[in-house]
């Protein structure tokens, strides 16, 4: 790459991907949002307020932790974990919700809506809404409400109204549909905080910009601790916000390999998975063109993953572009493999990862031994596993 990476174009296109595929009623609010985003992202007061919140409220910078015991055990590359699990609310999601909520405040919006899968984005949104005194409604698939009860309770404690979505497959994509329906109805006073790098422009670029704090810190920390850049980056990809946050600041660093880990569910060959980049095709959903899981009639196929946060049939459009240009390699990890990653990190390092992040851990289990001891992998530990205790205990036949 000789030219500096600079995507998207001004209309939100990453090559053929991205764009603004929305109903007419949403054109005005997304253009209004884009104008505010362009204005405040270079506004020193806004940046200062955001940085102060990230430091004092979220607890940034998050550590870059050298997992020495695990590295030694695998006998290959040195593994460094970017500890997004240590952020306030327990995942990377809050980096973005704080940014968007501060933007909402500047735009004079009084009501916040969000969609959530695993509940991490919902919790992060409810958290910042509580702090800023904004009304908050979170849409969550009815299936996810069942499997993530703890997070539902957290959101309610924080004062948010959680709406269980009963349409379609009752998971994350349906929560997004319902949030879009709410937005179209309440555009005047409502700000829609999308939790991942999907949706219509400017969301994919804006959410990315709020999440690149992960990669910017990791780069500095790696140089400070190891004296050089890493050889590889690993992150799980559902919509892809934690991955793009880690990857983006390294895109122009040619020597750094990047691996995005999709959820293979029961296995990509079974069709029961959530891996559009590995096994899908380009299409249009939720405001952007991207790789999707769709059948020959263009209907969206139901996805499967042990992890609610990865259970989504699309992916951020920038990932589609990074796949096509070959900058990021997208791989996949089954439910069973993800559990191996979950136990490995828990037992080797005393850190319980979220099931989403466990996919990245599981790929690290495969990758690290193929590399030499003087090489470095940074793995994004995007969230902590507390929310998954019920799921895990149930799998082990334990009642809690």
């Amino acid at each position: 790459m000789t030219e500096k990476y600079n995507m998207p174009d001004e209309r939100g296109h990453f090559g053929p991907y991205g764009g603004m595929f929305v109903a007419e009623t949403l054109m005005e609010p997304i253009q209004e949002l884009n104008a505010a985003y362009q204005r405040y992202m270079i506004d020193p007061d806004f940046i200062a307020e955001l940085d102060a919140d990230l430091q004092h409220y979220v607890g940034r910078p998050s550590p870059l932790y050298h997992a020495q015991r695990w590295s030694k055990n695998l006998g290959g590359a040195q593994i460094y974990l970017k500890r997004e699990d240590l952020n306030h609310t327990g995942a990377h999601k809050i980096n973005n919700t704080i940014g968007q909520a501060l933007l909402a405040k500047r735009m004079g919006k009084t009501r916040i809506i969000a969609e959530t899968g695993a509940g991490q984005h919902g919790v992060a949104t409810a958290t910042i809404a509580a702090r800023l005194g904004l009304e908050c409604v979170v849409y969550m698939g009815a299936v996810d409400v069942q499997r993530q009860k703890l997070n539902v309770y957290r959101m309610q404690l924080l004062g948010a109204k959680v709406v269980a979505v009963e349409s379609g497959s009752k998971t994350l994509k349906d929560a997004l549909n319902e949030a879009l329906r709410d937005w179209v109805t309440n555009v005047d006073n409502t700000f829609y905080i999308i939790g991942t790098v999907a949706g219509p422009h400017p969301y994919p670029a804006m959410v990315r910009d709020f999440q690149t704090i992960i990669g910017r810190e990791a780069k500095e920390q790696c140089i400070a601790q190891a004296g050089r850049l890493p050889d590889a980056l690993v992150a799980c990809v559902g919509g892809g916000s934690n991955a793009i946050g880690l990857f983006h600041p390294f895109i122009d660093d040619e020597g750094v390999k990047m691996y995005g880990v999709e959820a293979a569910g029961d296995g990509v060959e079974t069709g029961r998975h959530s891996a559009p980049l590995c096994a899908g095709r380009p299409g249009v959903l939720h405001g952007n063109r991207t790789y999707l899981m769709a059948d020959d009639d263009g209907e969206i196929i139901e996805t499967h993953s042990i992890s609610a946060g990865l259970d989504y049939p699309g992916v951020g459009p920038e990932h589609s572009w990074l796949k096509d240009i070959g900058r990021v390699e997208y791989v996949n990890i089954t439910d069973t493999e993800a559990l191996e990653g979950f136990y490995a990190l828990t037992q080797m390092e005393g850190i319980i990862p979220a099931l989403e992040s466990s996919h990245a851990m599981a790929y690290t289990l495969k990758l690290a031994p193929t590399m030499s001891k003087d090489q470095i992998i940074i793995v994004n530990l995007s969230g902590r596993g507390d929310k998954d205790m019920h799921t895990m205990a149930e799998r082990e036949g334990i009642e809690i």
């Binding site: 054109m27 005005e28 349409s167 379609g168 209907e299």
Partner: protein, 267 residues
């Protein structure tokens, strides 16, 4: 001249407004749709909007969402919807048929393949909810070359610039969404619609169909007095939903509702 342009010209000459019913193809079953289309024509429909079922109907309210779900359970998809239009065309070469839905089914089929098939089937217009003018440059010429009108939506918060943009590239008619919300929601505010239509008419000579919130003969009449056409969807589909065990009854109720709207609009 396209069937849509001819139809609106003819209506104008007769000083009438277009009655445009919407049903979802394949709801409540695939055998229901084509005979229902013919019956709607007899009841006074001038244009038919045929909904292409989609798994993720983001702009639709619960009534049309459930219609989509029922049709999808019976594996109704874009390819079968095109077959239905072809079937309808065997005995009706006059009434324009507009496919209404979301972009992904067309995107997955491929714009050119779809344009060819739609032309062969006798489709007159395409209205994709999630395809604003900004993103339509890859398909609009393919459609135009085959005599298919691209119908855009305008909303209460669309400004004059957007009307001009749609006037420049759209054809057939423009669909004015009368309220901020999803299909089947709330009540439309006549004064607001009137005011908005005045602005729209300043910037386009395309006919304006008005939809969202048309429930009965009275609202149909009110809307007909403001625009060039009246779109009614959820109110018809509610009849199907209320008679899932008796589609014939649904058909009768739809016919009666359309006739009452036609009479009110013509009075």
């Amino acid at each position: 001249m396209s069937r849509l342009a001819a139809k609106f010209e003819q209506l104008k000459a007769n000083n009438r407004k277009a009655l445009i019913p919407f049903i979802t193809a394949g709801d409540p079953n695939p055998e229901f749709t084509v005979p229902m289309m013919h019956e709607m024509v007899k009841a006074g429909a001038d244009v038919i909007e045929l909904g292409v079922p989609f798994s993720d109907p983001m702009a639709d309210g619960p009534v049309i969402q459930r219609a989509s779900e029922r049709a999808l359970e019976l594996h109704m998809g874009l390819r079968k919807v095109l077959d239905m239009v072809a079937e309808f065309r065997k005995t009706d070469n006059d009434i324009p048929v507009v496919l209404m839905g979301y972009l992904n089914p067309i995107e997955i089929m491929g714009y050119e393949v779809f344009a060819d098939k739609a032309q062969q089937a006798g489709v007159d217009g395409v209205l994709t909810v999630d395809l604003p003018p900004e993103e339509s440059e890859d398909c609009i010429d393919l459609f135009k070359d085959r005599g298919i009108d691209q119908i855009f939506l305008l909303a209460p918060n669309s400004n004059a610039e957007r009307v001009k943009k749609m006037d420049a590239i759209g054809s057939g008619y423009i669909y004015y969404v009368s309220l901020k919300g999803v299909t089947g929601a709330g009540h439309l505010n006549t004064d607001d619609v009137k005011e908005k239509l005045a602005m729209i008419k300043e910037h386009t000579s395309l006919p304006i169909g008005i939809g969202f919130g048309v429930k009965d003969a009275k609202t149909a009449k009110t809307v007909a007095d403001i625009g060039d056409g009246v779109v009614v969807g959820s109110a018809l589909i509610s009849k199907i939903e209320a008679n899932l065990d008796n589609p014939e009854q649904a058909k009768q109720e739809i016919i009666e509702l359309l006739q009452s709207m036609r009479n009110a609009m013509d009075s």
